[in-house]
Chain length 396, copies 4
């Protein structure tokens, strides 16, 4: 896997997509534009990396989905939804996008992210930042440090963010003082991470909220799904739609040059390369994730049909007449529906027949499959007795 990642870096370096290092925060302009690293962490907790995957950079907007996650975890999805929307804004990251109820359009544009920060319960800005640093560190699996120079640079020049915070205050979306939201926001953006950290953070979302390296549950599964959904719809600024079409992995970029991506149930990815394209996303990072998605078939809407049926076989015991249906692999709607269809349409199952559904080689039972198997007894009628062999306890 390391070799594959290294090859991706090589290929992207060769294609050399155009980009320029962000300079709207003066301190960001000092970064080395040639740094390029990538890391992946699977939901099993295994790590891979290539290039400058241990070079620190400021997390910037990559912090947004994770602070959103912390807010959701603390207040609940509904309460947060009263203050921040989940709709793509159709605008740039620093757009003045408030909906008709005065809510920032989503938590991944600056206005929404600042409100998000304000939602973390704390007595003041300093305590709020401490809570956020602790939370983001749980996602990363290690204690994250602040880049003071970048923080001071942002705080000294972040007038547009001041404007967004003040607007949010004026619509009542923001209910702390402007300062107590903005200062921890500038600080959270200036936390130092590397591509590996970012991959761990992504993997925590991908695994339903459990950090696969530390084993700690950081957020609940519904919160992880909510965050991934918002990343899927709004993660790449005004290129979010194009990203969904071509790369198809929930992701979030930062002007520091990093991108986090998370493939639910599979892995997190972190990429780092400072030059940005004109939408503000790392141009090499975008290219690297595009290549990974293409080569490894990672697009979330590209689920090829299962090549081999999950219904491994149907055995009829000549003596007892018992019919055994052997399932294997992921038993989803299609597999179960096929199974039920098979039973009902063959003549093998008659009144008095005993049916066994054998899940020994099954690896996963989709909720819809669980429902259909449970209903099967009812569908077959009382004359047929259904027994389910479930050594792994998939039925729950």
């Amino acid at each position: 896997m390391n070799a594959a990642l290294a090859r991706v870096l090589d290929d992207v370096r060769r294609s050399d997509p155009p980009g320029a290092v962000a300079d709207y925060i003066p301190q960001l302009a000092h970064v080395d534009p040639d740094r390029f690293g990538i890391a992946t962490v699977s939901v099993a907790g295994h790590s891979y990396g290539a290039g400058d995957h241990r070079t620190p950079f400021t997390i910037q907007s990559i912090s947004k989905p994770f602070v959103y996650a912390l807010a959701l975890q603390t207040l609940g999805i509904e309460a947060v939804g009263e203050r921040i929307g989940v709709e793509p804004s159709g605008e740039a990251f620093n757009g003045i996008s408030f909906d008709a109820q005065g809510r920032p359009e989503n938590p991944l544009i600056n206005a929404g992210a600042i409100v998000c920060t304000s939602l973390i319960p704390a007595a003041d800005g300093a305590e709020r930042f401490a809570a956020i640093r602790a939370g983001l560190s749980r996602f990363a699996g290690r204690e994250l440090e602040l880049d003071d120079a970048v923080y001071l640079s942002e705080a000294a020049t972040g007038f547009r963010n001041l404007a967004l915070a003040a607007l949010a205050r004026s619509t009542d979306a923001l209910r702390t003082t402007v300062e107590d939201a903005l200062d921890p926001y500038f600080r959270q953006c200036s936390l130092l991470v590397d591509a590996h950290d970012v991959a761990v953070m992504g993997a925590t979302l991908a695994s339903g909220g459990v950090n696969p390296v530390t084993g700690e549950r950081v957020i609940s599964e519904p919160v992880a799904r909510q965050v991934l959904s918002v990343m899927a719809g709004c993660g790449m600024y005004d290129r979010s739609g194009a990203w969904l079409c071509t790369v198809g992995i929930p992701a979030k970029s930062g002007v520091g040059g990093g991108i986090v991506a998370a493939s639910p149930g599979e892995y997190g990815i972190g990429v780092f390369s400072p030059p940005l394209d004109d939408a503000g996303n790392s141009s090499r990072g975008v290219a690297a994730l595009q290549q990974l998605s293409d080569e490894f078939g990672l697009h979330m809407l590209s689920r090829p049909l299962t090549a081999v049926t999950a219904l491994a076989g149907i055995d009829v015991d000549p003596a007892s007449g018992r019919v055994t249906l052997r399932l294997r692999g992921e038993v989803d709607f299609v597999a179960t529906e096929q199974l039920v269809h098979e039973i009902l349409s063959t003549g093998q199952v008659r009144i008095g027949t005993a049916v066994t559904v054998d899940l020994t080689n099954a690896t996963r039972l989709a909720p819809v499959a669980r429902y259909l198997l449970t209903q099967m007894q009812h569908d077959l009628g009382y004359g047929v007795r259904v027994e389910i062999l479930d050594p792994s306890g998939l039925l729950g």
Copy 2:
């Protein structure tokens, strides 16, 4: 399954979400608001339905993703992309959303859909509609008919669509005459379908472009993925973000009261109930799909971890020292990565060891898994010989 669908209808009727039948097209106001039907068609081609799932209604905006698919299939994704964007517009369905290059923001708002219609090659509007009707009929698996009264009603009152077509013409996104795009557009919106048809159409997208009922390939797999991606990002007007968070199935609604949804690799769903919510989506349809998603775990970003490892076992033959790794079910990144990790980290594989990867019980091999298995020989070094047992031909 029919029983499950019927129960969903009952539950939704009881909860009775507020809605009102569309009246902006006068003829639409004549529909019976109590009609309510649902149908699903699996990628195996099996159909289920409940309620008024065979009641005809006009397809309206549900036609948009399918005409987009026809345009993509004919001209290619890139050529279509030069004329129509893929970004959520952050506006209502009839919004005046053109991007900086003069392209409608996406093919699911009216402006983009009209341009899409114009892209279907034809000598004039009548021929264009004939081609679209034929194409949509291939998606549905039967010849679709026009509702003349609705068509005439739309054509007589569709001034905003006339404006959008004229704007698109003025930005050069539209290159036919206004009439030759608008007339077939009004006609395509007035095609009659029922919930079952819509489910077949959705299932065609879900199965990568092959109509699972007729077996005909209507569009290519990349086109199907592109269409699903745009539906995921922009399908439900200015509720698209909320839909992605809560329901999480690519979908498209129409003001006729229909909704199509498609779960890649699994099934298509069609729902029909005329009263619309304030975003213009069928309110009962939304509720029904929400319940299906919740109960059956259909959210595309909710992929629970595989409960049981795909690595079924490791056998070491005491005589020969041969190590056999038995895989089962869907072999994805996690499974393969785990396998490789296992081999490399145990002491069992030494120089001279013969390794067999047994795919007999595997049902699917993800592209990344295929890559990793192929790389395994290289990773292990030349002293180890890897043999892959692949009776189903999953390696391709």
Copy 3:
């Protein structure tokens, strides 16, 4: 005066402000960019001109205030106000500016002008154009002809105007068919005028609605004031505010290169030079009017204090004690207020005094002055008898 105008042309030619001939209507691009003419017509009906002031060009948007005038004259200010606003739009001439009630923001942007055209009562588009041509000809004092080539060129390419008409139809601001408003609109824009015609048209507005050359009353005085007011606020597209600050004469430009300006109570001006600046106004035309305004003090908000008091003298007849106040010139608020103040504050007027106000040398009596003079008797009390000597009948 001709010499002064000729000198302005020379000066502007020398300063050579940058500009480019409009090409968005293909036929317009064929005009000779070097043509440059200017004409003025006083409210007394005297004409002056220099350069190409008799070279015909298409009237284009200069038609807008005059068709607005015809609509106001026919339907009344209030009725027209229900369909078209009077607010500056803050946008370009072809902006999509409709207010919250669905009205185009003002009659001088295209959307509003098209609605204006539709308000001229007629059975169809052809009849409507005939009425507009007749009306505009009354403003110009001669029969205006159509430039067929420009009309056909506009009709063939005016998709944005088609869009605006369709939008206005969809908001119910437009109530004729789109065609019956758009076709006469394209025709009215293609009427041929020269700088002299335009000056006569402006002079008709400046003289309160009477064409000073033909003597015909074309519109009422309140309509003329309304049209001048809208020109003052919105006449020069998104440079209207700057125009008001620097030139300060109600004006309207057209992409054909013409500008009409009207100084109430004084004269109309017509300028013609095809190259346009980036706001779509004739760049030489703008420079010429700027120079005229600067040199001749034409800015409407630059009313220098009257240098010499209107109160020419106070005579006290030693014999009778009668006090005679002699007024001269324009008797406005300031003059009258001063007069009243004088009488009340001097000791000369006592009970029994006879007062004569002598208006022999007065040229104009402002309404407020008329009011104050009438009130004077009341203010002075019943012991003082006031007589007004008014040989010219200024008191009315």
Copy 4:
């Protein structure tokens, strides 16, 4: 005049236009809604008033044109124009209206007014406010005091203004610290004035920059014209166009319930009544100014033709053949043009004729008239000698 003003108050009270006291600044809501006063001050410095014209209220946005005037006076029109536009924004007073160069659209919306405040040279916010208070006091002719409670209330709740200041800072339109602009802005808005003060301030603009009560020149004449022009175009928020059409006097309203109006060369008007209409203008104030405009003919674009010709007579001396042209009143373009026309078209002026233009009874000579008279000698040719009798020195 006092009686006329009192009658206007009575009439407006009876018609009772709907309105509500502003409450977005909490302290403003405490004002007595029944207070209603009006005052006028002529350019001769005479004052009139009725009702609560000496009741103090906070100046609020009425301060904007005057601080703009101070900035123009200090930096020059061009330098201020680089930082603040002069175009109507088409939006409400607190709109986020910046043009393509990042300038607030005009100085009468909050964003522009805050930038204006920042332009007053000072070492810090406190010094800036001191300078502004001194300047506004010169306009009013007395030392204005701060309403501390309103200032504190605005400073505590003015988040939208904070946002506008921060946005202006981010576009570089604002170059002081946010605090050093915003704090003096909040203070300037909280200065206490009464209707009489406001009338004096308006009269100072109307008289070309000289306070007619104190005789002090506060700003130059070009600055006064610039301020009046911007008030004419943008003074009444998103009702500016309607105001120009119906009232036609440059004006500016404030949420404290005051309105200033200034009729160039004539007088200033101050009105005060707290309840505001839905555009944020004092509803009784608007009605009062409408009535004054209607009754007294104050609309600036309603200049009725001079009833009596300025050419009082032509005398030909039988002995010498000398032609004497007697002018009277305001000698403007029309009068002079008529005079020149008369001379040139009659046969009375031949080679050798001596011509006298007698300005004894003239009260004003427009710049264009001065030009034409000077040119007359040239137009007539060298054989005719022109003499101008100018006892009042109008030719300058």
